[in-house]
Amino acid sequence: MNGSNKSVYDTPTNVSETRRHILTILVDNEPGVLARVIGMFSGRGYNIDSLNVAEVSNQHLSRITIVTQGTNEVLERIQTQLMNIVPVHSVTNLQTEGSAVEAEVALVYMDIDERNRKNAYQICDFYRARRIENEHNSIIFEIAGTSQRIDSFIKDIRNITQIEIVRSGPVAISSMKKDKEE
């Protein structure tokens, strides 16, 4: 009577495939709001690939940008759960919106000597990475762009020299015309 069931854990039918999604969440800038948002993710077993928070210019609002992985069904659940958090104004899934522009920033510390300087600088030039002045005269570059672009920069520069890298994780904005939004 129970022959066909392969697993006791319930597998929902017609699940779409797991994809990367960027959520942008507008919240009241009040104490604990970040904890509420990320607590929902950890408490309900969702993943956060990257997280960005900054105050937007006016009205005590902050924008939280979260990169996560999931099926459309999971993302729908994440969005409705986020909307239940009191200080949350809006949640937008830029993946479903389709046309969005994203960027992240990376700071790269390079170990450079006479032998690899030329090659390294060529790659930095190619990727339009910018050298940042600093008091120790260390060689630190800043690169901005899509995560894939930064990935390939890192891959290329690692072929030449050892590096230390700090990445911000992406932020994103809808590229649709404003009058089309609500």
Partner: protein, 588 residues
């Protein structure tokens, strides 16, 4: 300059303006200023509990039986950690509660001060929202917002943490109508449902061959009118209806369309009808795992309509075809309008065939039992309790376990708000304090906590509360000396190895009652049952009735975890799939 008040005075003024009549609480160092303000007034009554956990369950019982918001006042540190279970319970069962907690003074926060804990941190996942109020001038605004949030959309608990220095500080008081709550903070709940979807749903219902209503606690939260509208719509369509544990009472159990409760220990006919239906109309239920059983075998051939105020409940466990988000009262009104306007009706001949099938299932008589000898069957105890309290103004609460399921099966509810039980969290120890809260809200009612011998010990200390406040709550213990449901699962799934489920050294419940200056009664034999129940009802005092029941009785029918609706066990002799049982063992 406007008149200045201390934070503690503002707390009391806010509560008064929110129409609060009763608070349940327990004093301590960090709330002394508020207790001082409480002492100086006579409008708000305080019920002193014996442990903070009792306060929050009492507030839940108060809220669920009255439709008002329950209010709790406890101190910092252990006061807070003791209410965490109740907050989670209220969160799971959508009970509106406002919990006020004291906090150490602000300059000590973060210093591991005496009775300090990170209250907002600990309670964040088990409240709809919580506050740490650092500015006395914001206190009244926070209170009014908290009350609005607790009751708005899907109800739930809200916590306000107030450092002691804020309770002493002076500031201004704002009245409820002088503040505006930003719309987004109130979830902007959709009250009205989408017209198009209601039309589509109506069409689906009208053309259904095997429809069924699946009714949940949301109908009760939406208010009495909602329940009445649901009753009318069920009658209009002539379709069968089943209720969840939380939804009992929405339809009277004597209603001819009612199939009773569904789910793990629900009625055979209700579960089979859910499995075989072609259109399911879920009104205010959430496809809980106690109801669905195995998800991939849950009502495989039906179109599903889901009416819920909480958008996050839609497609959470079960993918539905027509979701309708909004308040049940408005939506049921809309359904009636759409139904009339389009002259929809169900095909009575087609439905007759469906009812015929259901009547066949009913013939199994899944709740039948035989009271053979003098050993009291727990089912018989609940059945007689129902029969002897029928027609009285009765409110039933329960603890959690076998007795809870027997109460749900054998006690027949005719009205909503008469049945208070911990459904989502399954909190043992809920029933007695909840009964205290219900009795406070309904002084004239006969409030009975149907309990088990293990559960009742979890909040036994509240006997002292009940007697002090002259609350004639009745505790009806189905005493089998076991944690019955644990024992049942061990019998069915763990080879009868009754690991730690026997309660040795139980107290003498009669003497225990007497030691609290309450009444203790006992029935050891079936022939003593009626006399004890009658005496219990007639006693104008708190009563513990210790009913000695058959120790090995199991709760049937049952869908084991990991099984489907059409795989119900009707008794323990029934051979069940060994393999399925093995797999079900890992589930809860």
């Amino acid at each position: 300059m406007s008149e200045q008040f201390t934070g503690a005075e503002i707390v009391l003024k806010s509560l008064l303006d929110q129409g609060v009549e009763v608070i349940f609480g327990y004093p301590g160092g960090a709330v002394l200023p508020i207790y001082d303000s409480l002492f100086k007034q006579n409008s708000i009554k305080h019920i002193l509990v014996r442990q903070e956990g009792g306060a929050i369950h009492a507030a839940e019982g108060y809220a669920r039986s009255s439709g008002k918001i329950g209010v709790v006042l406890v101190t910092s540190g252990p006061g807070v950690t003791n209410v965490v279970t109740g907050l989670t319970d209220a969160m799971m069962d959508s009970v509106p509660v406002v919990c006020i907690t004291g906090q150490v003074p602000q300059h000590l926060i973060g210093s591991d001060a005496f009775q300090e804990c990170d209250t907002t941190g600990i309670t964040r996942p088990c409240t709809k929202h919580n506050y740490l109020v650092k500015d006395v001038n914001k206190l009244s605004g926070v209170f009014h917002e908290a009350f609005a949030i607790a009751n708005n959309g899907r109800p739930g608990p809200v916590l306000i943490d107030i450092p002691k220095d804020v309770q002493f500080a002076k500031g201004k008081y704002l009245e409820p109508n002088s503040i505006t709550i930003p719309k987004h903070r109130l979830f902007e709940p959709k009250v009205k449902g989408n017209e198009g979807q209601i039309y589509e749903a109506s069409k689906l219902i009208a053309n259904a061959k095997k429809p069924i209503f699946y009714i949940g606690g949301g109908c009760i939260n939406s208010g009495l009118k909602a329940s009445n509208l649901v009753r009318e719509f069920v009658k209009e369509t002539g379709a069968p209806a089943t209720m969840t544990l939380m939804g009992l009472g929405v339809l009277p159990s004597s209603n001819k369309y009612s199939l009773g409760m569904l789910g793990m220990h629900g009625m055979y006919e209700a579960n089979l009808a859910m499995h075989d239906c072609d259109v399911m109309i879920n009104i205010g239920a959430r496809f809980d795992d106690r109801v669905t059983g195995r998800l991939d075998a849950f009502s495989p051939n039906s179109k599903k309509i889901h009416i819920d105020i909480d958008a996050s409940s839609i497609n959470k466990n079960i993918k539905v075809d027509i979701p309708i988000i909004g308040d049940i009262e408005s939506i049921m009104n809309q359904f009636q309008d759409v139904w009339k306007k389009n002259k929809f009706s169900t095909n009575k001949d087609v439905l007759e065939a469906w009812w015929k099938k259901i009547e066949e299932w009913k013939k199994i008589k899944c709740l039948d039992f035989e009271q053979k000898d003098e050993i009291i069957k727990p089912q018989q105890a609940v059945k007689r309790l129902y029969e002897l309290t029928k027609g009285k103004n009765t409110i039933i609460t329960t603890e959690v376990g076998q007795h809870q399921m027997w109460a749900a099966q054998y006690y027949k509810f005719e009205e909503p708000n008469r049945w208070l039980t911990s459904g989502g969290l399954g909190t043992m120890g809920y029933g007695f304090p909840a009964a205290i809260g219900a009795q406070v809200a309904n002084p004239e009612a006969l409030v009975i906590d149907i309990a088990g011998d293990a559960s009742i010990l979890m909040n036994m200390q509240e006997m002292s509360t009940a007697v002090q406040h002259r609350l004639p709550v009745k505790i009806f213990i189905l005493n089998n000396e076991y944690m019955g449901m644990v024992r049942q699962w061990q019998e069915l799934l763990h080879g009868g190895r009754y690991s730690e489920s026997y309660t040795d050294s139980l107290p003498d419940f009669v003497k225990l009652a007497e030691s609290y200056r309450a009444k203790g009664l006992r029935a050891k034999k079936a022939s003593e049952l009626d006399k004890v129940i009658t005496e219990m009802i007639e006693t104008d005092n708190t009563v513990i009735a210790d009913i000695w029941v058959n120790k090995e009785e199991n709760c049937f029918p049952m869908i084991q975890s990991g099984s489907a609706h059409n795989e119900m066990l009707l008794n323990k002799d029934q051979t069940h799939d060994k393999q399925a049982a093995e797999k079900g063992k890992v589930l809860v």
